[in-house]
Subunit: 585 residues, 2 copies
């Protein structure tokens, strides 16, 4: 594979300095030990590992996924040194407090750094992301024993972690978790049950894997209110020894992408010797998990952006060097062929990819920055905005990123359809992002049914204020600021109408077009980013300024006007699929 | 894999009898030896082979693609008996005249029969389709020697054929074909050159493979006007023997789908002993090829429909039996979970797939029937409509079919992301259809730049009359007929405006949004099919009538209104990508 920049450093710099002024976060006490240089150093280090080590190994890891050998998972040999390099970046705990081993790095900076790693190999980065999420659960809710035994080793990457939520019969419906935890006199529980799609659920990269698992304490009530969170290591600590904890790998899922990271079926307690330790209070498992979900969803959203970005850059490089055909209206058949970038439709496909990638990237950095301001700046609006934007930041890159990845294949023509070229692989990688951490349909219901209407629409009001701040920034096209204001007004009035339907008892009518509502909201949210990018892009690099404004122009002309049709659908009495009897199909 | 109906027989029957009344074609002299029963028997036979033999072998053929062994291609052993069954259906020459070994079957009937085979295994069917196309070229343009030596064996499937057009440096730009043909005193030519992406270019299913190859006679003018068509067998006939003809396999493309059918790089004349016979007149190769292109494009369009159809049926079966979650507003957590068809968004995804699949199928049968009426009924309007609709019939199933295939994966959740379930394979299969036989962007330029405006808009006028015939059919929703009339008017006025731009010298401005124009036209064309289907569906099967009208309602409410935005784009001065300098990216 040729070199690939993974992201355009010009965009990263624009977001870092002009758009979001991340160095200004150092004014908050939590980030005060940092300065612009330490932030930049973290991004630089990740970028270097991503470009020079992780990306060049992508194809090898894609072609030879982990195998099950004597009941344990063996990963590709090349992954061992790569994992050490990833771990040595010290990113797992980076956003966490110094007292638990972290660096108190803003999530916005962390997000930019990890973006490069995800673009280089989403699956390989997954070990770090999952470990961070699992250790954070222990940090937030675990008792002193769990915090002392597991958290530091996980934050240092000596052991990795998983989120062991899904079960074969339950899928997205966590209320149906059936794994049972039986208390013992010794304080731990004995777990018994089956999990599926457990990413990183076993491997030979570290001595231990720590599962943060949902289970039901024997006798707990049915449904979500009876689900508790447990810490279930693959090997438990007994004195100085690590002892097998009866977590068996019962199957390897043959995923179509993310092949560096195994996805497994696990069995807890086949020999009745699987010890688990309750994390926090009984029956609070779902609540705890959901408190961590926003960050996990931002990670999935960034994976979507990253996977579209690496393919976009490959398509640009290919299109610039691939000669084919003549310009429109050329008459001389003996003239040499032109690079396919000379064809307007190829430029359209490239610009569309870029608009999706960089617009999505800006939304992810914005959402991460809201998390920083909410958690460490006491900014109530930021908390509301984080909550409101998370379903969009998770689903937009998955849905439109998949479209962008398909365009990258299309630009490669017949070559793109072959595994000799890498673009088909990223199309495979991307498809997972609309499924894991909540499907697009579930996030649509969550956005319209809960987040947009909660608290009397407080989050929408905060969003409206944020939009006005961007519109006041000036410098970009005045028509765009006006269009964005009108689009914002449409979202507000539409949401009020739909909420009134729900309050009137017609929750089905309110939510029938939730997916269209999500599409509409995301289209406006990305227009917002493009107005911000176009307003902030400095004059010093005319080419970057020109392409940034071209993307903004494209989005405002091609995508934003779609919202009127989507709003009409959301409001309509269109019930073709609502009233559909599945027996008719 | 479970059984899969591939298509819904209710839809096939509806199209066959009520919508298009295919038995009425027997009134034309060319089809007069047939009756309804012989048409139905052809479809039945293909359906049986597709369901009972071809489909059950799909996974095995996908998992073990053809290999290169000692310079020749070896296919999966299971393909040998399957190929014999396919050949025994006697479909290759079925639409051709009796005197060349055909059955004078309407293309519309042939299209419905082959649809099942394509849904069962697009790659395996490809051998038949390519052979038909190649033999038809010989039939149409070859001299007596070629017609006697190659055509009958190809029409009987004893030998297969290929279309050897593409070269590594030329891709879609056939004007740049560089293979050279040097005349000899013996009458044949000596060919030398490299071809790539030659589907079925070598295999061990038959004794011989006959390439219909584009090449340039030594000294021919540059560009399209210097390209000739040659018949280049893998083994040439010398007396009673078949002698190696110096066609070497230089590489196997590792395609991501269509794995039953090898895609090869070939070298002609590495030993200067590759004989080729000129087909027809010199320098007419591109014209001959394009005379056959409409049928090849209908085949690709049907492949798109078929690949979306098989996945749709799998998704319906999965969704009906997969329990997960509770209905909206359910309160009792101890109640058993419901099948996911109980969730409105799942029904939306299923109905959307069906609307794409059956709408596309109707368009393909309609287009095939126009070919029958044009070629055998002297119907001038039908000829114009065939020409106008072909780019839509080719690209709509590829683009929207891919979206439908992605929805089938989405409905399967995490399971859909694994190769344990078949839906991911059809997503891979589908991606080829937007690339081969002309990319979507190329067809968009062809539709707007040529077909829609040629002859003073004669084809559009014929189309307008055909729309009015459908609108007059009555029985369906009156609002739909009105909406379709308005949409037709929009296409007509928009085309006039854009044509005027082109005539005014601004061909770039005319064609910049050609892809949006194609999308718009296709959206209207499918609405037309749904009005026809909804008007024609009889009362005798209430479930089928209900789902047919639900699809029509969905399309008219959800898709048709998009055309106003697309028309605005086509008319707009939006030039973001037109003016883009590729160096900015």
């Amino acid at each position: 594979m040729r070199d690939n920049p993974l992201f355009d450093d010009r965009d990263i710099a624009l977001l870092f300095d002009e758009v979001f002024d991340l160095p200004a976060l150092t004014a908050l006490p939590y980030f005060a030990e940092h300065d612009r240089a330490t932030f930049a150093a973290v991004i630089d280090a990740a970028r270097r590992v991503a470009r020079t080590a992780l990306y060049p190994a992508y194809r090898a890891l894609d072609e030879q996924p982990p195998r099950l050998v004597d009941g344990r998972v063996v990963v590709h040999p090349q992954l061992h040194p790569l994992f050490r390099q990833l771990r040595d970046l010290d990113l797992i705990a980076a956003p966490r407090p110094v007292e638990v081993g972290g660096q108190q790095l803003p999530l916005a900076v962390f997000t930019l750094a990890t973006a490069y790693l995800m673009a280089a190999n989403a699956g390989a980065y997954g070990y770090l992301g999952l470990t961070q999420g699992a250790a954070h659960l222990i940090e937030a809710f675990g008792d002193a024993h769990l915090r002392a035994t597991y958290m530091p080793r996980m934050y240092r990457g000596e052991w990795t972690g998983t989120m062991a939520l899904t079960e074969p019969q339950a899928g997205s419906s966590l209320a149906d978790v059936a794994t049972v935890a039986t208390p013992t006199a010794a304080g731990h529980y004995l777990l018994r049950g089956a999990k599926i799609f457990i990413s990183g659920g076993d491997h030979d990269l570290t001595d231990n894997v720590v599962h943060l698992a949902l289970a039901r304490i024997a006798g707990a009530p049915a449904g979500i209110k009876g689900v508790s969170l447990f810490c279930v290591p693959r090997r438990r600590v007994e004195g100085d020894a690590l002892v097998d904890n009866d977590v068996a790998v019962t199957g390897v899922i043959h995923k179509i992408g993310w092949k560096a990271l195994p996805s497994l079926a696990l069995a807890f307690g086949e020999r009745d010797d699987c010890h688990g330790w309750l994390v926090g209070e009984p029956h609070q498992g779902i609540r705890y998990m959901f408190q961590m979900m926003n960050e996990a969803r931002i990670m999935v959203g960034m994976n979507g952006v990253a996977t579209a970005s690496v393919a976009y850059h490959e398509a640009v490089a290919y299109a610039r060097e691939r000669p084919q055909g003549r310009p429109l209206g050329a008459k001389d058949p003996a003239a040499p062929p032109v690079a396919i970038t000379a064809h307007a439709d190829v430029r359209r496909m490239l610009l569309r990819q870029r608009a999706i990638v960089v617009g999505g990237l800006a939304l992810l950095v914005r959402t991460s920055r809201y998390a920083d301001l909410a958690h460490h700046g006491g900014d109530a609006d930021a908390g509301l905005l984080l909550d409101l934007l998370t379903p969009i930041a998770k689903t937009f890159p998955a849905e439109r990123g998949f479209e962008a990845n398909a365009l990258a294949v299309q630009i490669h023509g017949g070559y793109g359809y072959s595994s000799e070229y890498p673009v088909e692989a990223w199309l495979r990688e991307q498809k997972l992002n609309s499924i894991h951490e909540g499907t697009t349909g579930i996030h649509a219901l969550d956005l319209l049914g809960r987040r947009a209407v909660a608290g009397g629409g407080a989050a929408l009001a905060a969003w409206s204020r944020a939009i006005d701040q961007t519109r006041a920034r000036g410098a970009a096209d005045a028509g765009w600021a006006e269009d964005l204001g009108a689009a914002r007004d449409l979202v507000l009035s539409l949401t009020r109408e739909l909420a009134a339907r729900g309050l009137g008892g017609d929750s089905e009518g309110m939510l029938a077009h939730a997916t269209d509502y999500l599409d509409l909201f995301a289209t406006v949210a990305i227009a917002w980013q493009w107005l911000e990018l176009a307003a902030a892009v400095p004059d010093r690099d005319p080419a970057h300024r020109a392409v940034t404004r071209a993307c903004a122009a494209y989005w405002f002309a091609t995508e934003l006007p779609r919202i009127h049709h989507l709003a009409a659908l959301c409001r309509s009495a269109e019930r073709s699929f609502v009233d559909l009897d599945p027996a008719w199909l």
